[in-house]
């Protein structure tokens, strides 16, 4: 009884629930379409192809929790991808090229953070402008797809470490950084800054600093995601990230992260991106005419979003109402 009540309470409290439910529903559907779908090899290759989006979703979630939005994460991946390939082609050892790549995306993330948090640009439009710039840089660095990676990178990425698929460690890196940050006093401050910046400010929270961390973290996650992606596909493509920011943001929202800020966590976002990944798998494996595939996956995504919204709506309203109590006036942007 006590256990059931404990479970009920915690399940109710988690914002990730709709995304988790959606994910397992699709996983079941997929199992019936494709009987091998629960084998280790399928799950590992599924994770392998989705690690980049998962990392990006974690970054996007934290920025949204901090009351912003970053739609330049995808183009950031493009820049980092072509940069990594060019560095390797120029003879840089991968042990130097990989940290440099992560450093570059972190710097791009921090630049977005400065523009939004310090110079107070609107985060949607500023990162939109930044994404134009980043796409341009990627095209300048490498106008056409090509290149190759060190064989060790591909081997490591497709192999496993201590019996755990290597790709899991790429997901764990941003996850651990965020969970550690959340345990410090800054964790609650970041949520406060996202929920109601004016009130957070009057409670002596350094709002710009918290936002800056969120953007920097998103850049860092994008870098880790890029390294995973580049090891997985083994080449460079200046357009590779073009669709990714929007996938990451959709995944975060399905995962229960509220775009009004200060609500949700990255765990939901992870399941949201797994749900998106499964849509592609199901549509590809179900023998639908190729002309119909995009329409079907779009409709599934729309239905999933509607389901997630209906699910969180009442609870979200409740949370917002309790946050509004006391006459909060400031809204994120």
């Amino acid at each position: 009884m006590a256990l059931a009540r404990f479970l009920a309470k915690n399940v109710k409290r988690t914002t990730a629930l709709p995304a988790v439910l959606l994910f397992f529903t699709l996983l079941t559907v997929n199992f019936f379409i494709m009987p091998g779908a629960l084998s280790r090899s399928f799950l590992v290759s599924f994770l392998n192809t989705n690690t980049a989006v998962i990392c990006l979703t974690m970054g996007a979630s934290v920025v949204i929790i901090a009351g912003g939005i970053d739609i330049s994460l995808g183009p950031m991946v493009s820049v980092a991808n072509v940069m990594l390939i060019k560095l390797l082609a120029a003879g840089t050892h991968y042990s130097a090229a990989i940290p440099l790549t992560v450093l570059a995306t972190t710097a791009m993330g921090l630049l977005n953070g400065v523009l939004v948090a310090v110079l107070r640009g609107s985060s949607l439009l500023t990162t939109f402008a930044a994404s134009t710039v980043y796409s341009g840089i990627a095209l300048l660095v490498m106008p056409v797809p090509g290149g190759s990676v060190a064989r060790e990178m591909t081997a490591f990425y497709n192999g496993s470490l201590l019996g755990i698929p290597a790709t899991v460690f790429f997901i764990l890196a941003p996850y651990v950084v965020w969970k550690a940050f959340k345990r410090t006093p800054h964790g609650i401050r970041l949520y406060a800054a996202g929920n109601n910046p004016a009130k957070a400010y009057s409670s002596a929270v350094n709002v710009p600093a918290e936002k800056l961390f969120a953007f920097g973290f998103a850049g860092f996650s994008a870098g880790i995601g890029t390294v995973a992606l580049t090891s997985s596909i083994g080449s460079g493509d200046p357009l590779i990230g073009a669709q990714m920011s929007m996938m990451a943001i959709s995944a975060a929202v399905i995962g229960g992260v509220s775009l009004s800020g200060g609500y949700g966590d990255i765990t939901g976002g992870i399941f949201g991106s797994l749900f998106l990944g499964l849509i592609t798998v199901i549509v590809l494996s179900s023998n639908i005419s190729s002309f119909l595939q995009q329409f079907v996956s779009g409709v599934i995504l729309l239905l999933g979003m509607i389901g997630a919204m209906l699910f969180t709506m009442r609870r979200g309203e409740k949370a917002r109402r309790s946050a509004d109590r006391g006459g909060g006036t400031a809204h994120g942007e």
Binding site: L115, L125, V133, L139
Partner: protein
Amino acid sequence: MANKPRRTLNLDNIRIFLPSVLAVIALLVLGRYLSGRFLTVKNLGSILMTSSILMFATVAQNIVLISGNNGIDLSVGAVMSMTALLGPTIPMATVGEFALAIVAVMGMGAACGLINGAGIRQLGIPALIMTLIMAGVVTGFTMYVTKGRPAIELSPLLLGVSKTVFPMFRVLTLAAIAAVAALEIILRKTRIGRSLTLVGDNPRAAELCGLRVSLISVLAYVSSGAIAGFAGLMLVGYTGSAVMKMADGYTLLSVAAAIIGGTSVSGGRGSFIGGALGAIVFVVLNSILQVLRIPEGARYVIQGCLLVVILLTNNRSQKLRQ
């Protein structure tokens, strides 16, 4: 009472239009300096023609941006691509049929807008996400219906939109100018236009005034979709053929043009004329960069940096310390 809003409007007008007008003039002078053939009637005519399609897209975007509630329509380009591909399949032999075809494409766009509006208003899905998913659905639908085949056989009436009427001014350019002017008057002077502005500026106050906030913002998405549908058909009339995803780039350009034209991202402030000028700025800038043979990547970098500068000068959010 009657004087006050008019005065603020005038102040707004100068502040909104001046940067774009100066930018266009500066860019035209620069273009003349760079190439002797830049300021010819023919080139200016084609710049205006390209701008007029972007103007329609920008109007569609502007309506949604003005309606507030973090409104944005990322399905503008996808809807345009859809009507560019599906529109020409409607028979357009006579003027009557052509008019019906226009109504039909606007209806298609309006249907997409209605789904957008319903999802955003009734289910509370953020506009950014809803319209983005809608863009995917619309593109998928177009792919399914056309099986990826381009539209190449166009009715002469449709191609007629790019006929030159006066030197520099083609049919569509004149239509765009007339539409932008008419919509600006509707936005400023009529009840529905003012309601839209109030809903965007302060939805709570609008509701207290007895306005039906949900209905008005759903209508904003519906009209945005309808105008985007029209713009798509006009685009294929100009280019002469349509391929999958041909208009997708208009989504981001329309946002950029609206912002340069002085529309506020937080809603409740904006101008169609400003947006139209913003559209001209982007088209002229692009054609100059093409004259200079600047690679695609560098063009993006320049446009993006320009947009950052503009955003940081006219669209910054309030200081936390008040």
